[in-house]
């Protein structure tokens, strides 16, 4: 059943191309997230004063505030970017790969029927 689909898809260059593209996107976004978060953690560990510095001399707002809120927004935005690309572009391209495998499996089955009849 699915086995024939898997075999066909494994042999489809478009599938490997798409998977490579997709994993490039997700790993770059993960790297970006880790970079942002662990830089934040290291700043807290080594230069905590910086985050407590006021934005301007007459302000109580410190650099920590836009940085902290910014990380929350950043987290939300990168999930948005990924979901948008995956749900629109990648799923559409993947559907083509899947349809091709259905066609292939259907052909195989009708061939079988013909040869047996």
């Amino acid at each position: 059943m699915s086995k024939h689909h898997y075999d066909h898809i494994r042999g489809n260059d478009k599938f490997h191309e798409l998977v490579a593209q997709k994993s490039k996107l997700s790993w770059s976004l993960i790297a970006l997230m880790m970079l942002v978060y662990y830089s934040f953690i290291l700043v807290i560990a080594f230069f905590p004063e910086w985050l407590g510095t006021p934005l301007s001399s007459n302000s109580t707002l410190t650099w920590g505030m836009p940085v902290g809120i910014g990380i929350i927004l950043f987290t939300f935005i990168i999930t948005g970017i990924y979901v948008h690309r995956a749900n629109n572009l990648y799923d559409m391209l993947m559907q083509k790969v899947i349809d091709a495998s259905h066609e292939h499996v259907n052909d195989m089955q009708s061939d079988k029927k013909e040869s047996s009849s």
Partner: protein, 524 residues
């Protein structure tokens, strides 16, 4: 307050309980198969699931605890909540769609997909139950204390009431009831917190800088609350805590289970997007609420005891603020919401624990896949009752204990045992059963051991002078130890079954990417 009875709170609480019991009745009638019971038939939409996931994650502990942390040390509260948020993109990019395409009811389905079912499921069930029980005890103790304060009810009664209600929701209504209880609660919590933050800003003429300026004026630590304080002291602890939060989230069984309630990978992705949005928004609200409490609660003698401390402890900051901002009516609403939050979170946990018992241990380990669906659901219901009794007993037993370590340990176990086997089973062809077992058990045992030998239990709970393991958070070490074992043992595994397991990776990979052969939702 002061143990006096708030009529609004009790009325709203009864309305919530009546409504959720109504939903449970409706859900019970629609829950027939194991698939309905464990995964709500796979018919929940991405948006609904996003709310439900957010509901699972926004516990009373995080609402009251994070606003309390902001109340006492300002900016540290934001640092802490950011840690809880950054795990979500990791779940999205690495797990969500693969999980949906490969699994049926739990993450053990995925971890054991091409490996030996029984030993892997046994280990995954132990990891799940450990996380669920630790989390559950923390919630029960918090619930008992909160209800005692808010409703003037004795601690034991409160714990028993929470236990009984959660057993009813879960055993009668399964995942469908649990999901809707979670959605309603998430909606109530988000609206309540939004309104509370709105009132704080309203009293400051919507000027954030005025709010911060006043808070700095009245807080003991002054301007220090606007930057990092003492939460993170040394780099090793900071990174270790960061790892536990980032990867622990991706190993929480009750969260991972939610990805099987949606129809396909598209909706699974969408649910993480919505969940991240709701959770991030919620953390921004708790930050404003914490600062609001500094300005409006710490300056009001009505909320202070004779020693100058907050009545009921710092965890009551948000609750007191609701009274300061909106009087008894709003206090009643927020109290009822806090209670609803506890009920919903313990229900989600209990369902995940019961599923580990009935699906992994009973159906796969004991019956080797020959159990009938009917019997499996009966076992799940019995397990729910068993977990309910255990939660009540442990809740009462731990009333006066220091339980601050429990959620941290739950995250450490999730990050060191559950996440690595799940991740490597999907991403690394060479993983074998032996490697997964070695890595999973080493991760689990080392996380537990290092917490026991660390400052939180060895010194604070057991009263020894100095900790054997110097760091509070073990994840950096336990996760590394688990992953190294997992890799080394897999590479050394030359058994015949190991080669078959490696060969099975390719089919698994194609399925995880395309969804061909994946579980369909009941509507199809």
């Amino acid at each position: 307050m002061n143990g006096s009875v708030n009529i609004t709170a009790i009325t709203m609480f009864f309305v919530f309980v009546a409504a959720t019991l109504g939903i449970t009745y409706w859900a019970a009638k629609r829950t027939k198969t194991a698939k309905d019971y464990y995964s709500a038939g796979g018919g929940i939409t991405g948006f609904q699931n996003g709310l439900a996931i957010a509901g699972d994650y926004m516990s009373a502990a995080s609402f009251l605890g994070i606003s309390a942390l902001v109340f006492t040390s300002g900016y540290d509260g934001l640092i802490y909540s950011i840690g809880f948020l950054v795990g979500w993109p990791v779940i999205l990019f690495l797990l969500a769609e693969r999980l949906r395409n490969l699994g049926k009811y739990t993450f053990s389905d995925v971890a054991s997909y091409r490996l030996q079912q029984r030993p892997i499921r046994l280990m995954a069930a132990c990891g799940s139950l450990a996380v669920v029980l630790l989390y559950l005890i923390a919630q029960m103790v918090g619930a008992g204390k909160l209800i005692q304060l808010l409703f003037g009810l004795p601690y034991e009664y409160a714990v028993v009431m929470v236990g009984v209600l959660m057993v009813i929701y879960v055993s009668a209504g399964g995942m469908l009831a649990t999901t809707w209880v979670q959605i309603i609660k998430a909606f109530l919590l988000l609206s309540g917190a939004t309104f509370l933050a709105f009132l704080v800003l309203y009293h400051q003429n919507f000027s954030i800088s005025a709010l911060f300026a006043q808070a700095v004026d009245v807080h003991d630590q002054g301007i220090a609350i606007m930057g990092p304080g003492t939460l993170v002291s040394d780099p090793v602890s900071a990174i270790s805590l960061g790892l536990a939060l980032m990867f622990g989230t991706a190993g929480l069984p009750h969260i991972l289970m939610r990805f099987f309630t949606v129809p396909d990978a598209k909706q699974a992705r969408r649910s993480v997007f919505y969940a991240t949005g709701f959770i991030g928004y919620f953390y921004i609200l708790t930050f404003i609420i914490g600062f609001g409490a500094i300005v409006f609660v710490s300056t009001n003698p009505e909320f202070m005891d004779t020693a100058g401390a907050l009545i009921g402890g710092n965890n009551m900051a948000a609750i007191h603020l609701s009274k300061a901002m909106g009087g008894d009516l709003f206090l009643g609403f927020i109290s009822a919401v806090a209670f609803a939050t506890i009920l919903a979170v313990v229900s989600g946990l209990t369902l995940a624990g019961a599923t580990a018992v009935s699906n992994d241990l009973y159906a796969h380990c004991i019956k080797k896949g020959t159990a009938s669906e009917k019997n499996e659901i009966i076992v799940s219901r019995l397990a729910t009752v068993g977990l309910g009794i255990a939660a009540i007993a442990l809740g009462i037993l731990f009333e006066k204990q220091n339980i601050a370590f429990m959620v941290g340990l739950a995250f450490a176990i999730a990050a060191s045992a559950n996440f690595p086997i799940l991740f490597f089973s999907m991403f690394w062809k060479s993983l074998t059963t032996r490697g997964a077992l070695a890595g999973g058990w080493v991760g689990l045992i080392s996380a537990v051991t290092l917490v026991i030998l660390g400052p939180i239990i060895w010194v604070d709970v057991l009263g020894n002078a100095e900790a054997i393991f110097p760091y509070k958070y073990p994840a950096l070490f336990s996760m590394t130890a688990g992953i190294i074992c997992l890799i080394v043992v897999s590479l050394l595994d030359k058994s015949k079954s190991a080669n078959e397991e490696r060969d099975a990776f390719s089919d698994q990979f194609v399925r995880s990417m395309t969804g061909i052969g994946a579980e369909k939702s009941s509507e199809y």
